[in-house]
Structure formats: structure tokens, C-alpha cells
């Protein structure tokens, strides 16, 4: 079926009281950005508590739906049929014709819903529903009415300019429009978890920046490119991501030579947090985001997380996959299409910086004592910050 209009439903943001128009405006903005990348002419407009998308020119309907399915804040995408008002009898015929096209001979239950903004229409909403229901039952014996839990709704909206009809609901991603929640700094590695974490937080309305620590020659140029690719995949949802690429080799070698090897990972992660927080604050990010999940590896036990967390001065650290099993994270990664890239084998090829038996229950005092031996690390952190490379990923047509 061909549609030229879509009605966009956004239940969660509708309840945000006085901020409602801010949310709606942001959602419209994000939808326009998403559609601007496609071929075709698109109009996104707000009208009496609804957002509509009108499509013109040469466009691919599936592309439009897929683009909208990546705009956080959208709950349902409803393909819309616009009818001229040629009387109720004509309306009945058009509705039945449309339902036959949608559902054919399938045994299903339905319920008619109607709304009337044009108050001079000869029938009230309460009169339209039973009359329309009756006509549908008569024409389509495979359908039954169920007013409590129907398989589908038949929505009829009598408006000033035309009558809107819709029944199919395509799920959107949910969440809130990117930008309403400010900005977060994602610690992005080449793994499976961090892109998922970034996606989840962005879904709550946050723009993203990201930081990646690379360690040439111990990690390769291809590993770095993989991280850029992952950022690009996440940016299809979150919008453009500023990626800060920090050279971590000097610091890593220094820790390696100075500190006990079973504490390498934890000290390294604390320094990564410190650097990430600095970059976050310099760039107006109000939180850090990591892909940590309890117990997944030695550095992610509750004790390790506590010690890592203590390296952060003041920003909250969000760990949206904290309670997920690996398999649950993988499911999301597959859904957002980062999985295939995440499992490319470039990352962490060189395991020399991972101790064979890292501490699993580190004590902050002990770790801090080890860190006091790193007298020169402050200068190295400054240098790493200064020499970082910044690239903007995604967002281009």
C-alpha cells in the first residue's frame, strides 16, 4: 500500500506538562533532520497535539519508515489515509475498502475510535463508532468487535480540511527526542557493550560525545577505524557524535612499569575516567556513560566498579547495561546493528596490558597507594588531552 502521510504518536512526551512544546519542537527538529537525508520532499508539522509527516516527490516509503524508526521520541508511526468528506455513506465504503486491503480475510477483532474536531459534522463521535462498526461487521464476516482488547483499531478523525483514517501501527523506537536531556560523554571501546550503552542513554534524550583511548603500536589503525564505524552506527540514532581520540600509550606503559600488574586494569580505567571527565566538562557534558555490567570481567565486579567510580570527581556515571547479561546486550547490539562491527577481531589484539590474574576485589586505599607512585602521570594526562584528535562522526547527508 502507498501512503503519503504519517501520523506520529509520542505518548511519553505528551505528559510533560508545560515543557510539552519544547519536547514536541525537538522531536519535529529531529524528524526533519532524519528525513533531510532521504530523497524526496517532506513536510513535518504540528497540528492540534499531533505531528504529521507529509511526503511528496519521489520517495521510498520504506526508507521513510526506517528513518523515523531511528528518531527517539516516536512511539508509533501510523500510515495515514486522507479522505475528502463526501458524506457518511461514502466514508463507510472507503473505510471498508481500506480494511479489506489491510487485513483481507484474516480472523481478527477490532474497535472503532473516532475523534471530531469539526463540530458541525452531522454525526457525533459517539454516533460514528457503532454505525461504522455495524457497517464493517456486515461487509467483513471475518471480523468481530472487541472493545476491551481488539487486535486493531479503526481510527477516524473528522477534521476541518479532510477525514483521516488509520489502522496500522508501526512501532517507533520510543524514548525521548535527542537534545532534551543535554549531552553525555560515552567511553567508547571497540566492544559490544559501550555502543549499546551510548544508544540507551541517547534514547533518553541525550546528545552524545565519545572518547576512545588508543595505544599505538599496541592497537592498530584498523581498531581505531572500527571505533569510528561504531560511532557512526550509533549516530544514526543519536545524531552527530564528536569523537575524542586520546593516545594512551605513554600512560599505559608508565603504569605498567610502575604499578603491580594485577592492578593494571583498574588503574588504567581510573585514569580513563579521569580523562573522560575532563573532556566531558570542557564540552558541556553532564554525565559519563560506560558499558560496564556487573561481574562481566574482573574490572567490573562491584568492588572494582566502586574503585573506578571513585576516580570521577563530580559527574554522575551512567551504566545503562549494568544489570544486563551478555546475551541481553548482544540482542540490543544486533537490533541497533552494531554487533557485526563490534565483533571484528581488531580490538585488544595485544593482551600484554592485561594481567593474567587481575585483582577482583580491589581496595581504594591500596590502589591509591599504588597510584601515588605515578608521580609523572599528571603531565602525561595533560599531554594526552592536548594531543587528542577530535572528529565529528555522522550527521552528514
Amino acid at each position: 500500500m502507498e501512503f503519503h502521510s504519517f501520523l506520529i504518536k509520542y505518548s511519553e512526551i505528551a505528559v510533560k506538562g508545560k515543557n510539552r512544546h519544547l519536547f514536541e519542537d525537538k522531536l519535529v527538529e529531529r524528524m526533519r533532520e532524519a528525513l533531510a537525508r532521504l530523497e524526496g520532499d517532506f513536510r513535518v508539522r504540528k497540528a492540534s497535539g499531533r505531528i504529521y509527516v507529509d511526503c511528496a516527490g519521489i520517495f521510498d516509503q520504506q526508507d521513510v519508515i526506517e528513518a523515523l524508526q531511528k528518531v527517539f521520541g516516536i512511539v508509533w508511526i501510523c500510515p495515514l489515509v486522507k479522505l475528502a468528506d463526501l458524506g457518511f455513506e461514502d466514508l463507510k465504503a472507503r473505510v471498508i475498502e481500506y480494511l479489506k486491503e489491510c487485513y483481507g480475510e484474516k480472523q481478527l477483532t477490532f474497535k472503532v475510535l473516532s475523534r471530531r474536531t469539526r463540530k458541525n459534522y452531522p454525526l457525533t463521535s459517539d454516533e460514528i463508532c457503532p454505525l461504522m462498526g455495524e457497517a464493517i461487521l456486515e461487509a467483513m464476516p471475518n471480523l468481530k468487535v472487541n472493545v476491551h482488547d481488539p487486535d486493531f483499531f479503526v481510527n477516524i478523525e473528522i477534521r476541518d480540511e479532510n477525514i483521516n483514517l488509520y489502522s496500522i501501527l508501526i512501532p517507533g523506537p520510543g524514548g525521548m527526542p535527542v537534545g532534551v536531556g543535554g549531552k553525555g560523554m560515552l567511553l567508547l571501546s571497540g566492544g559490544i557493550d559501550s555502543p549499546v550503552a551510548g544508544w540507551m542513554i541517547s534514547k533518553r534524550g541525550l546528545e552524545l560525545e565519545a572518547v576512545y583511548f588508543h595505544a599505538p603500536p599496541y592497537t592498530s589503525e584498523r581498531a581505531k577505524r572500527k571505533v569510528e564505524d561504531l560511532a557512526e552506527l550509533v549516530s544514526r540514532y543519536s545524531g552527530p557524535i564528536r569523537l575524542h581520540i586520546v593516545n594512551f600509550t605513554e600512560i599505559q606503559l608508565y603504569i605498567y612499569e610502575t604499578c603491580p600488574h594485577d592492578e593494571l586494569t583498574i588503574i588504567m580505567r581510573r585514569l580513563m575516567m579521569r580523562i573522560a571527565e575532563r573532556i566531558a566538562k570542557e564540552n558541556g557534558c553532564s554525565c559519563l556513560i560506560t558499558g560496564e555490567s556487573i561481574g562481566q570481567v574482573a574490572s567490573q565486579t562491584v568492588q572494582s566498579l566502586t574503585v573506578t567510580n571513585a576516580a570521577v570527581e563530580s559527574l554522575p556515571v551512567f551504566r545503562p547495561v549494568i544489570g544486563f547479561d551478555k546475551q541481553e546486550i548482544i540482542e540490543v547490539a544486533k537490533k541497533i546493528e552494531t554487533f557485526e562491527t563490534s565483533i571484528l577481531p581488531y580490538e585488544d589484539c595485544c593482551t600484554i596490558f592485561v594481567a593474567k590474574h587481575p585483582v577482583t576485589k580491589p581496595l581504594l586505599k591500596v590502589i591509591e597507594a599504588s597510584e601515588r607512585k605515578l608521580a609523572g602521570v599528571d603531565a602525561m594526562v595533560e599531554k594526552a588531552l592536548e594531543t587528542r584528535e577530535v572528529v565529528v562522526i555522522g550527521g552528514q547527508k
Binding site: P217, E221, H261, P345, C350, I352, F353
Partner: protein
């Protein structure tokens, strides 16, 4: 200064080759299969290239079949021979150190009912001709042995094997993967019992995406590509005329001064080998310099992951290749290194340096100097 020591992966194109190809794109863009003059002109260029190549082999031009490169050449030779000889038998003999474009074809055939014998090699990577003869069975239809191993430069005794096969089992076809050997050694396949021989253009300073398969006159193999019937139906597909012209010229030029080039490479190989041996904790793998191919040096660096060293050299614009993928010591990652007896640490700490006619003494010295400086630094950070 950029130092390219990965010439067994690919080589830069000769300027004359680039020029000749450019001419083809500009002027002789016709399809050699076309009936008109534009097609005939292109066909002549292809014939000329075939003649040039045939001349380097003491062969006839009709014995040269153009392909898209080494992988296709090996696939066509092996699958084509196996299918053509199906009724005579389904046993094939090869070595355990062949390139993936031979080895994986063998595994494919095994899945379809062929039996394959993989012969071992000695610590220098050489297969013994007696082993080949001992492995012969009444149903053996094909023997495939590479001329030069791509990982360690071992030179296989293909001439000896070929002659012996023609004596004791003339019905068996003999294929040689000469991708790393052609242009480094003079070879006359017709005189030493080689029926099929694969060559790739971009390993001899020719273009990528083109190569040839030598098929001895009267030897019949089945095609693996079907279509318009080009090249006597054995390899359908419009001829890659610019590539073929480039390949022909590269073959001619490289073979013209072959001894001069290889002598220069041998001297540099010796210099590099001596320099590497003088470094702490470095072992050079494979045969003695002049017993192997002139362009390949394989070395293991104790206590280091090859990939780390590769990227460390890359920082100085020195490009080499890693013997085995880092992180895993799986024997399948590098069959050759495993077959010559490398295990564990040595398997994952191996680099391949490969030279070309453009390699200079300064480049070798600079590479050794960088290694001398970097090895102790990198070794400070070894997993304990």
C-alpha cells in the same frame, strides 16, 4: 622516508607498465572479441602480451591463458584438472605449506569426494621429491606444489618433481603455483614436466587483477567460468586488455634483467639476514639466504607479538607483514610456520620482510637501525 618491505603482498607498478596501460585506456579500448577494426587492434595487443610472456618461459603463446590473478589461476588449474580427470581417479597430492588459494581449494574438493594427501616439509620448508613419488597411487590425477613459499621463501624442487613425475607417472598432471617464484627464477615449464603454472601480475611490478595460467599444449582441463567462450572457452569473460598489456610488459622487463635483479636482492637479503641475526633474541626462519628465494626473509622476535612490532615499524613508515595473526597461536593461522616446526611464542612473533627491485641498501640499514632502537623498548613491556 617510506620503506616498503611487503613486496610479497604486492609490488608497485613499473612506470613503463603504467604508461602502456594508460595508452590502452586512452586508445585501444576496444573489446578483443569485437569483429571490427577496433576489436582487432585490441586483440593484437593481447597477442603481443601473450608472446612476451611465452618468450620468458620458452613456451608458445597459445599456452598462456589470462586470468584475474593468482587466486583464479590456482582455482582454475586445480578444479579444472580435477574435473577433467574425474573418471581417471580422485586423488591429489600437495604440500602442507601451500597458499590459501591452493589449500582451501583442496579442502573444497575433499568436501566433494576427492582425496588429498598433504606432504610434510623439512625445517627449511622443503618438500622431498621422493615423498611425492611415494605418495603416488593408481588413482592419483594431480600433483600441486608451489615454487616459492610465500611465508619463508623456501624454494621447492619443482623441476625435479616434474621430471620424475614424467618418468614414472606421465598421466598425472603437475601444477606449480609460481606466484612468488616467477620473475625471481628462470623456469621452462615445458622442459621440466610442468603442465600447469600459475602467475600473478602484481607480484612482478605489474597491475593487480590480472595474471596468467600456463597450460601445456595438449593438456586438457575444464573451465570454471562459463559465458561468452573467450580464450577458447576455457576462461569466459571480456579480456582485461589494459591489465594484460601491463602484465606482458612487466613480465618482459622483469625477466630481461632477472639475474641482475636477483643478485641485488640476494645481497640485500644477506645484509638483512646478518643484521637480524646480530640482534638480541631474533631467529631467522627458513633456508639459508641463497638457498631460498631472493626476496623473502622471515624472522621471529623473542618475547614480542608480531603485530605490535609491525605497528611500531609502521610508525617509522616501514611496512612489513606479520607471520601470524596476533593473539592466537592456532596452527591454522600460519600453516607454513607450523609445518617447519615453529610453536607457541615463535609462531606469534614472526615478521616477513620482502624485498623488490626497488629495495636499497639504505632502506635495509635504516630498518635494522629502527629495529635495534625499538626492540629493547618494546621488550620492556612483555606480558609477565
Amino acid at each position: 622516508m617510506e620503506i616498503y618491505l611487503d613486496n610479497s603482498a604486492t609490488t608497485p607498478v613499473l612506470p613503463s607498465v603504467k604508461e602502456a596501460m594508460s595508452q590502452m585506456f586512452d586508445m585501444e579500448y576496444g573489446n578483443p572479441s569485437s569483429m571490427h577494426l577496433k576489436g582487432v587492434a585490441a586483440e593484437e595487443k593481447v597477442l603481443e602480451a601473450a608472446k612476451k610472456i611465452a618468450a620468458t618461459l620458452g613456451a608458445k603463446e597459445k599456452e598462456i591463458l589470462f586470468t584475474s590473478g593468482g587466486t583464479e589461476g590456482n582455482n582454475l588449474a586445480i578444479i579444472g584438472a580435477a574435473r577433467a580427470k574425474m573418471r581417471a581417479g580422485k586423488h591429489i597430492i600437495t604440500t602442507s605449506i601451500e597458499h590459501a588459494s591452493v589449500h582451501n581449494v583442496m579442502e573444497h574438493l575433499e568436501a566433494y569426494g576427492w582425496e588429498v594427501t598433504y606432504l610434510p616439509v623439512d625445517h627449511q620448508g622443503r618438500v622431498a621429491p621422493e615423498d611425492v613419488l611415494d605418495a603416488l597411487r593408481p588413482d592419483t590425477v594431480l600433483v600441486s606444489v608451489m615454487m616459492v613459499n610465500n611465508e619463508i621463501g623456501a624454494r621447492e624442487p619443482v623441476e625435479e618433481i616434474g621430471r620424475a613425475l614424467k618418468d614414472v607417472a606421465p598421466q598425472v598432471l603437475f601444477h606449480v603455483d609460481a606466484i612468488q617464484g616467477y620473475g625471481k627464477y628462470r623456469i621452462r615449464p615445458g622442459r621440466c614436466g610442468i603442465d600447469l603454472m600459475t602467475v600473478s601480475g602484481h607480484k612482478i611490478h605489474g597491475p593487480k587483477g590480472v595474471g596468467f595460467l600456463y597450460i601445456r599444449d595438449k593438456v586438457k582441463i575444464d573451465p570454471i567460468l562459463f559465458g561468452g567462450g573467450q580464450q577458447n572457452g576455457l576462461r569466459s569473460g571480456t579480456l582485461n586488455t589494459p591489465g594484460i598489456v601491463g602484465l606482458g610488459l612487466a613480465a618482459e622487463e622483469i625477466c630481461r634483467d632477472l639475474e641482475v635483479h636477483t643478485e641485488q636482492m640476494y645481497r640485500l637479503k644477506e645484509r638483512l639476514t646478518e643484521g637480524l641475526k646480530a640482534l638480541d633474541g631474533v631467529t631467522v626462519n627458513g633456508p639459508a639466504p641463497r638457498e631460498g628465494a631472493p626476496q623473502i626473509v622471515s624472522a621471529s622476535f623473542e618475547g614480542l607479538r608480531s603485530e605490535v612490532l609491525l605497528h611500531a615499524l609502521e610508525e617509522e613508515q616501514i611496512y612489513v607483514s606479520a607471520g601470524s595473526a596476533c593473539g592466537s597461536a592456532h596452527p591454522e593461522d600460519n600453516r607454513t610456520l607450523y609445518a617447519i616446526g615453529l610453536r607457541g611464542e615463535k609462531l606469534v612473533s614472526t615478521l616477513r620482510f620482502s624485498l623488490s627491485i626497488y629495495t636499497t641498501e639504505e632502506e635495509i640499514d635504516r630498518t635494522l637501525e629502527v629495529l635495534r632502537a625499538k626492540l629493547p623498548l618494546l621488550r620492556r613491556f612483555v606480558r609477565r
